[in-house]
Symmetry: C5
Subunit: 309 residues, 5 copies
Amino acid sequence: MIIYKANDNWFGDIKHLAKSWTMVRVMRTVLFFGVYTTIVWLLHLNFFPEKDQSVINSAFSFLGVVLSILLVFRTNSAYDRWWEGRKQWGALINNTRNLAVYAHTILPKEDKGIRFYLAVRISNFCHAMVEHLRQGTDLDQLIHLTESDHKKYGKRAHVPNAITHEIYETIVHQHREKLITDPDLINYGPLHKSLLDIIGACERIKKTPIPFSYAVFMKVFISTYGLLLPFALAPQMAFWSIPVVMLVMFAFVGIELMGEEIEDPFGLDCNNLPTGDMANTIQNNVFEIFELDEEVVKNAERKLYDKVF
Amino acid sequence: MIIYKANDNWFGDIKHLAKSWTMVRVMRTVLFFGVYTTIVWLLHLNFFPEKDQSVINSAFSFLGVVLSILLVFRTNSAYDRWWEGRKQWGALINNTRNLAVYAHTILPKEDKGIRFYLAVRISNFCHAMVEHLRQGTDLDQLIHLTESDHKKYGKRAHVPNAITHEIYETIVHQHREKLITDPDLINYGPLHKSLLDIIGACERIKKTPIPFSYAVFMKVFISTYGLLLPFALAPQMAFWSIPVVMLVMFAFVGIELMGEEIEDPFGLDCNNLPTGDMANTIQNNVFEIFELDEEVVKNAERKLYDKVF
Amino acid sequence: MIIYKANDNWFGDIKHLAKSWTMVRVMRTVLFFGVYTTIVWLLHLNFFPEKDQSVINSAFSFLGVVLSILLVFRTNSAYDRWWEGRKQWGALINNTRNLAVYAHTILPKEDKGIRFYLAVRISNFCHAMVEHLRQGTDLDQLIHLTESDHKKYGKRAHVPNAITHEIYETIVHQHREKLITDPDLINYGPLHKSLLDIIGACERIKKTPIPFSYAVFMKVFISTYGLLLPFALAPQMAFWSIPVVMLVMFAFVGIELMGEEIEDPFGLDCNNLPTGDMANTIQNNVFEIFELDEEVVKNAERKLYDKVF
Amino acid sequence: MIIYKANDNWFGDIKHLAKSWTMVRVMRTVLFFGVYTTIVWLLHLNFFPEKDQSVINSAFSFLGVVLSILLVFRTNSAYDRWWEGRKQWGALINNTRNLAVYAHTILPKEDKGIRFYLAVRISNFCHAMVEHLRQGTDLDQLIHLTESDHKKYGKRAHVPNAITHEIYETIVHQHREKLITDPDLINYGPLHKSLLDIIGACERIKKTPIPFSYAVFMKVFISTYGLLLPFALAPQMAFWSIPVVMLVMFAFVGIELMGEEIEDPFGLDCNNLPTGDMANTIQNNVFEIFELDEEVVKNAERKLYDKVF
Amino acid sequence: MIIYKANDNWFGDIKHLAKSWTMVRVMRTVLFFGVYTTIVWLLHLNFFPEKDQSVINSAFSFLGVVLSILLVFRTNSAYDRWWEGRKQWGALINNTRNLAVYAHTILPKEDKGIRFYLAVRISNFCHAMVEHLRQGTDLDQLIHLTESDHKKYGKRAHVPNAITHEIYETIVHQHREKLITDPDLINYGPLHKSLLDIIGACERIKKTPIPFSYAVFMKVFISTYGLLLPFALAPQMAFWSIPVVMLVMFAFVGIELMGEEIEDPFGLDCNNLPTGDMANTIQNNVFEIFELDEEVVKNAERKLYDKVF
């Protein structure tokens, strides 16, 4: 994701344009329509110089309004996925912090081992989730994996499920040993539940693009519209039809392609969410909250920079 | 559902067009309007060649804007149902996972029987739901049904209700036997509640299309509009009225029919949700979480591939 | 409510048109404007045959866009009430099922009496709610009312409140008698709470139409617009102004009247929710879940068909 | 609030027009623009009778579309506040009922005193909230205030906070005395929490109008647009420019002023919520649910009609 | 934030215009386009006085509709962030009040020390959050910091996390000492959880502006549109093109810049939320609810006015 400061500098933002892969595709398509319109105009100039079709022009203007209303729907539904994805990761940050604060408070004060165990598990849940939402969990992204962890996780199709179970088992074990009380476990329940709710919601966003018919419908409509438009405009506007067609197609192709890009916000494109960074932030937060010893933390940190990037 | 990768290949998507039943209907309607416009144009050419009605043209352009705003409302409300249906199935995946993780953690470690019992019940709840949202539960879709289960479920009008009761009864029985603690049962409550909430929400989506008046209103409006439009355009645009009418009707009929299709997302059309696949995913997840023995799992898997598809 | 199958038959739906009371009103208004436009046109033809006002035409087209954007707001807010009403009734179905499943599981197995008592109370809550949302609870709609129930409910202004109290009292009494445990009562709490939340939300929808100013504003705007439009169109479009004005008024009056109709979804109009049927469905579900004896169920069923319809 | 029946009588609603203060303001502004346009037209007729500027006309039509899209945003955000305010008061009704039903069920059966104490406190919370959302709590609106209550509340800046504390203290005291059980207190928790959540949400709506820049932006845009429009229309439309400008300004000024009015729904304007009536409804409901003795109720009722209206 | 009374005085609001930094920027840009259009018009007048391009005009009008639909999306998503930020701060007010009411009720009546400790911590959580959402927590904004607090917080990257832990530890300690009961701790859980949920949601809003591609896309579109528009309008409208271009750019640049400004609502611009004031309100509320002694309160108040502003 390109990090930028809103409300700062109008032209400063524009100059990042070439960095966005989607924008490059949009620009290429716009150029194609520029060339195409020039050809249509020149052909027209040479072969039918007398014809006037001002009404067709108005028909295309109306069709353009219809199309732009459709594209708003397209944009809204894509943006909602992107924003919901962001909300889920935000909720992950909140919940892991809360989980750590609760656990740190209720667990026996002197037991550093269980704190380290939980901090590693919570961090690994997030690191596993990052790649799980791309091509499947990569165990090398996880921190502090012992031999046996590696073997155990390796056998599982869904690693975050396994980690969640380990975390809950630890807490329930403490409860069975009377080290934490009944209300502690009851308050802990919803925090724990949210971990799998969040990963499930992200899986849903990743796996469900806009219904296929809509995706195809828009592409057919935009393509047809773009190919017919120069025929309607060139006779009348002459040279001016070129910038107008280009500006129109910039709007339509741009909105469609940006919608497609942000629809799956967990990839590595420039508009996607910085999920890797967020997982690192969570790890730092969790280790800080558990107030783990210097050496333990440093150990973890080293792992962090070795493995995660 | 056609599985497709968004943001990949513009023309690759378009070529799937013919696979979508709705798109085929749209195309047929558009062709009809193409032929119809040709006839109107030819009649006009031969009988009233002198008349010019440029203002009617603008009236239809304005009516088209009104209609397209209506269709946005139509699309939004249909899409919301589709997306809510998807969310409910996503919530089902999350909740069954959480249910399994909680049960696996709190139940006595050595009791494999109860784990198998629960894994089968949770899976069957989902398999029953798939068909319940089509034409009514088909008991042959369920796995590991014993004779008595078959008889018991056969008598029930609403099978998922019965399964839910069995699951809760098992957990409550464990609680009465002091095998699980008070906080365990309290944390379990909301997870259990969500099962019937989800199936109820899906029933609501299935049973409540857009209010009847709106559905009829749009059809009357689109039909009238489409039948009058060629009379307004043909006098002026001549040959060009044919592609313009076709593009307009492609937009309007397409949006209306796609709205109708995705409004009930639990069927078997190409835009519907892959509920059968999701039920299988849930089954795999649940059996994995309960860490059931090889042979038990294999048994279940065999059943799975025999029965569900 | 007219039950219809979406995505089935374009013209099949249109032929139900005359059954919708709102549609009849819309059609009558549209006819009025047809006659009115004819008169304006004929007057114009005879008295000011020379005048051309093409610009006024464009002003009305723009005003129409403004109005149609307003009507989208109108439609959205009315539809949201209708859909929220449907959601609340869906939630009622879910919660009564969950209530019955929970109660059936936790209550002493042999106590059929309490199950019958609860099944009757839950069903009556729903039957009372149906009429409560129309003109006030009609005690004759309730099932299995004893003499004393009748007297007790008769004195209450808000019968569902009284029924809710009876249900909760029964459960709490079981808890005081140690027949159900602490976690049972804790899990039961939110289920119970939802009963009054649902009826309260429905009361809110029923009692709060769109703010008065908006309702009047739209009527004034549509009336003025419709009465001036023929003057703007007739001079230029002549005969064609009649279908155009009729189509425009069909759109505007139709959207306004449909919005008014679905705004209060608990009545008996053809677009209203089938709340009576839903209450019966709930009764059937609840009696099935409690697995009540044949004779008890039959008894209840008889009552059901005698009284509710 | 004007109580009106939707879907009843088209012209019946229109005749209430003059009762709405906002509508009166709108009408006055529309009249102003009518006079202003007449002046512009007459000036034009006398000084520049030859000029034709049909294109400016189309520019204003396009600017009008931009403005009307902005006003939809304005209307939606204002209406959302109004509707959320209504939802919060609806939630208050639900929660006070639930609170009363819970308390009535769990408290010792013979203790009428505590029921009266709670009924008064719950009612007073609502009565206090009505004025708190206007100019600050007026203690004279509260019922059954003893001398010491009066003194205690008088010293507090935020009276509802104090009442909430009294209610919770009573319940917790019962719990400490073992008169209610652990699950009773746990189930009571969320009901209690909602009281302050509701008043907080209403405070938020009251204190946060639309961001200042937007409010000013719209006023500048509408004023400029309205003052320039007659210059664009008068040259061409002549006399017709007067009704057209008036209808346009009716739409724009009307939407803007109605938005401003409903944005703060807790005042005493004709579109505001009937919060005083709702508080009385709550009082009646709560006293009925607690089944208080005739004389106690009558006492309360007298107070009710003396003080609240 | 400029505090203003909605629905009061049309022109009174407009005169605050110059106070808004965003409005000043908008006005400057509009002036630039005024000058630019004048130059284009004068050039045209001198070099191509004969050319007429009325159709280009209509193309720009259509492009303007497309752009304004995009800007509605822009406005909605920015406004949603602003409003969600406001809701989160509203929720903070509600939750801190509820936290204080709960704690004040359940804690041992005579223990003033713990009340003061909690009141300070809750207030400091809010004061820390104000600056945390700007450039990072400024410890000088916190009240009643002891030496050791200062040192402890100074070492933490995320101070609110640390404060949250202190609050929860105090409550849990009371529970371990049997000074509060199990249900007290269970009811307290969700209140506590919300503190970190709220700060996390605000961090999400602050750190995630609209996706980069959209931000750039709009700037490119508006710039190109604004630079080409005078060429399309000047030939026909002559002098009139200057106010029209200025009004159009006022709309487009204004909506874009206002969107950018309110997108991050936690800064110090004139449309931002008064978070500092809200933190003070919370402090006053919390100290009042805990009914702390005169001297303690005064002490706190002094601190309040010394430090926070």
